[in-house]
């Protein structure tokens, strides 16, 4: 498969680019909801518009009312989300959440998917348990209790956790903390008794919660997929999150790059445009190279994931690491090249820098993924 978009994908990109630039722009969305101290960190009206365009169910099966698209298509949306810093539940709900639910029973899908597709509900993912992404270790326990389970433990960095109608929790139903087996995924309703949130605003104005599950009683219907056999599904959900975050990072990096090169073409010092200085030209050209390469790695990984290739795991980590490196370079160079105004809240470049930091951390930073590349390569 060639490493560029098909005609259908290019059409989708055209539509989404226009939509996000108009409706998801920084001023109307990110700045607005930040400045009114919105406790969701995103706007429900825009989420409804996502639904009207069919974006919320992109990855859901046609039988479930979705579009049965893949990670290449979801990545097209995420890149534009990244470019406009549009706050939305798309990555967690429509990419990771839908991937998780797709591994669940018809009843479970029937319970949660219609709300997601309609843009009425939001899903959150409770996987990590500390400040760093370490999904290999899961200590949060769900013990058999009657016909159901009793959930006990803590989860961290649950993006939009307090706004979610259902929290998808990866819990241990057998074995010890570092075992690959013995994992079960649950869809925990937000009103379940014993769930408490420490709802936090992050540096990029997104909301995330640390969740405590204190003897939360769950009936058997909450189980997604197999009891004890949830690791494969969890890996699928995590891969979807990683490649999704990588795609969004390429958008953030590109957005920062675009406003920076525009600035180089308008700002004058020493009687000339600063973009005429070779010191800045070479850095901009280097940055361009890194962003192009990151984008190539991302589309390759998306295609491999969509094709269920055995090389997908490796390439997803390459893509997440490379996208994080390139995007981070883009926002750092962006702020520096903007000079003093880059430090002001009035200019958008700082917002890109904050978003990069948050997205890089999400589902494993560049160091985690470089380590994983080494391990998957056999060293």
């Amino acid at each position: 498969m060639p490493l560029y978009h098909t005609e259908d994908q290019a059409m989708l990109a055209d539509t989404v680019t226009g939509f996000m630039a108009d409706e998801g722009a920084i001023k109307q969305q990110l700045r607005h909801f930040r400045d009114i101290n919105c406790q969701d960190g995103f706007g429900h009206a825009l989420w409804k518009q996502f639904a009207e365009m069919g974006l919320t169910g992109m990855l859901a099966a046609e039988a479930d009312g979705g579009l049965a698209m893949g990670h290449v298509e979801a990545g097209i949306v995420l890149r534009e989300i990244g470019r406009n810093l549009t706050p939305s539940p798309f990555l967690t709900t429509s990419v990771m959440g839908v991937t998780a639910l797709s591994g669940g029973s018809e009843d479970l899908r029937g319970r949660w998917l219609p709300g997601v597709l309609a843009g009425d509900s939001v899903l959150a993912l409770a996987i990590d348990e500390g400040p760093k992404h370490r999904p290999e270790r899961i200590a949060c326990k769900a013990e058999k209790a009657g016909n159901g389970f009793r959930l006990q433990g803590r989860k961290a960095f649950v993006v939009q956790g307090a706004s979610a109608d259902a929290i998808i929790v990866a819990a241990r139903t057998s074995g010890s903390d570092n075992d690959a087996d013995g994992i079960t995924l649950f869809a925990v309703p937000k009103d379940a008794s014993g769930v408490s949130h420490e709802n936090l605003r992050l540096v990029d104005s997104a909301m995330a919660s640390n969740i405590t599950f204190d003897n939360v009683e769950l009936d058997g219907d909450c189980v997604i997929g197999e009891v004890d056999g949830g690791r494969a599904l969890l890996n699928k959900v995590i891969n979807a999150g990683r490649i999704g975050a990588a795609a969004e990072l390429t958008g953030v990096g590109q957005g920062a790059f675009d406003i920076t090169t525009a600035y180089l073409k308008t700002r004058k010092q020493f009687g000339q445009l600063i973009g005429e200085f070779q010191a800045l030209q070479h850095r901009a050209a280097h940055l361009y190279s890194e962003l192009e390469i990151a984008e190539a790695a991302v589309i390759k990984a998306q295609q491999l994931l969509d094709g269920n290739s055995e090389k997908a795991d490796l390439m997803v980590s390459v893509a997440k690491a490379k996208a994080a490196k390139a995007c981070n370079l883009s926002v750092r160079e962006g702020v520096q090249m903007h000079g003093g105004v880059g430090m002001t809240d009035e200019y958008d470049i700082g917002l890109y820098m904050k978003r990069d930091r948050s997205l890089s951390e999400f589902m494993g930073d560049q160091y985690y993924h470089a380590e994983r590349v080494a391990q998957l390569s056999g060293y």
Binding site: L280, Q281, H286, A297, M315, K325, A370
Partner: protein
């Protein structure tokens, strides 16, 4: 079976029957590379047989038209040819600057007569070419070149000096940039072809830091070049040169494949990897190398359908060569004292250290990294004053 599947089966069967076993071994050193030419040195009979068999089928230049010595393969067929060769580890039957550089320029700018004559010779490995571009005073600023061809009616008399002429001492002919109008900088250069055996041509190998001498100084002293031996129009050689440099940059970038794109951590780790910081550096390199390989694939896919930015090879060349230098720095570090050996048998005559030193030219030859960045800034980013 689709047409391409049938084609693949045909190529596979032909390779199986015709590629000698010795030619399926990895290329170990310069002697294993077949350059052809009037005084071709073949390491063994198999090398000659392999070149001749491929030439007879047009497989030395598979995507050139049949009329010019090629096999007329489509891009998809040529990809299959490369894949099937890689599958059995077949060495390139013929390596030459004629194939990589002059050929594409002739295909675009040559007359029909020139194409039939020169391309056929290249495809059959009969003539070995070298490239006369850089001069002592004209490196990155190539267009300032001074080698001058004086108009003498039906011929030019060329005087001047070239430098960094790869294998000039072994080449039969040269494609050369010569100033034919001193008043016009860009539109005063012509692209000439001439025999290195012409009276007045002398070469002097330059010893490099690697201890090898792949490059020469080349001197022209009243060299007579008939006017039929110009490619493209008089004084428009810069257009040919720019087109050809694009090909050279693509080639040096390794965009078409080749081992420099590979990750290295796993290979290094086979001999033990005890230093965690080195391991981390290798992992970071592998991330960059694997991502760059995706870029190479994407670039080729996009180039095929005209989606790639025409200046993109400059970016590829910049990143690919910088990556290759980093690769060899890491290989030297991982090799320790063994990699320092200069002429031991164990290192096949200092291959690690000599290869490491050779890579330092990657980001200089064919346009320096700094020039590549200038081109990206100007033509892709459209920054002011660039």
């Amino acid at each position: 079976m689709s047409d391409l599947d049938a084609f693949r089966a045909e190529i596979r069967a032909w390779l199986e029957a015709n590629c000698p076993a010795e030619m399926r071994e990895p290329v170990r050193d310069e002697g294993d590379v077949c350059w052809g030419g009037r005084d071709a040195q073949f390491k063994n009979e198999a090398q000659k047989t392999w070149m001749d068999r491929c030439a007879a089928k047009g497989y030395t230049v598979p995507d050139w038209p049949e009329a010019y010595g090629g096999a007329g393969m489509s891009p998809a067929q040529a990809k299959i040819w490369r894949e099937e060769c890689a599958h059995i580890g077949a060495r390139p039957p013929l390596s030459s600057f004629g194939i990589w550089m002059l050929g594409p320029a002739l295909l675009k700018f040559g007359t029909e007569e020139q194409k039939v004559h020169y391309l056929g010779q290249i495809a059959r490995g009969e003539i070995r070419w070298c490239q006369g571009y850089s001069e002592p005073g004209s490196g990155s600023d190539l267009v300032s070149l001074q080698t001058f061809g004086e108009d003498k009616g039906d011929h030019w008399v060329v005087n001047g000096q070239k430098i960094w002429t790869s294998y000039a001492d072994k080449a039969d002919w040269i494609f050369c940039l010569v100033r034919t109008d001193k008043a016009n900088k860009y539109q005063g250069i012509s692209f000439l072809l001439f025999d290195m055996a012409t009276p007045g041509v002398t070469t002097k190998p330059i010893k490099l830091i690697s201890g090898n001498s792949p490059f020469c100084e080349t001197f022209f002293d009243d060299v007579v070049v008939p006017k039929t031996q110009i490619v493209g129009e008089l004084n428009r050689g810069w257009d040919v040169a720019k087109y050809l440099l694009g090909h050279e940059r693509e080639m040096i970038s390794g965009a078409g494949g080749g081992d420099r794109l590979n990750a290295i951590g796993a290979v290094v780790a086979r001999n033990g990897l005890e230093d965690p910081i080195l391991r981390a550096e290798l992992a970071q390199f592998d991330v960059d190398a694997l991502a760059y390989a995706c870029m190479g694939e994407k670039f080729l896919d996009e180039a095929k359908v005209g989606k790639a930015h025409p200046a993109q090879p400059n970016m590829m060349k910049y990143v690919g060569t910088e990556l290759n230098k980093r690769r060899h720095e890491l290989l030297m570090a991982a090799g320790g004292a063994t990699a320092l050996e200069w002429d031991s048998e164990r290192t096949s005559g200092g291959t690690p250290s000599r290869s490491w030193l050779r890579t330092k030219a990657n980001s200089i030859e064919g346009g320096t990294s700094e020039v590549m960045l200038n081109v990206v800034a100007k033509r892709i980013l459209e920054l002011p004053g660039a």
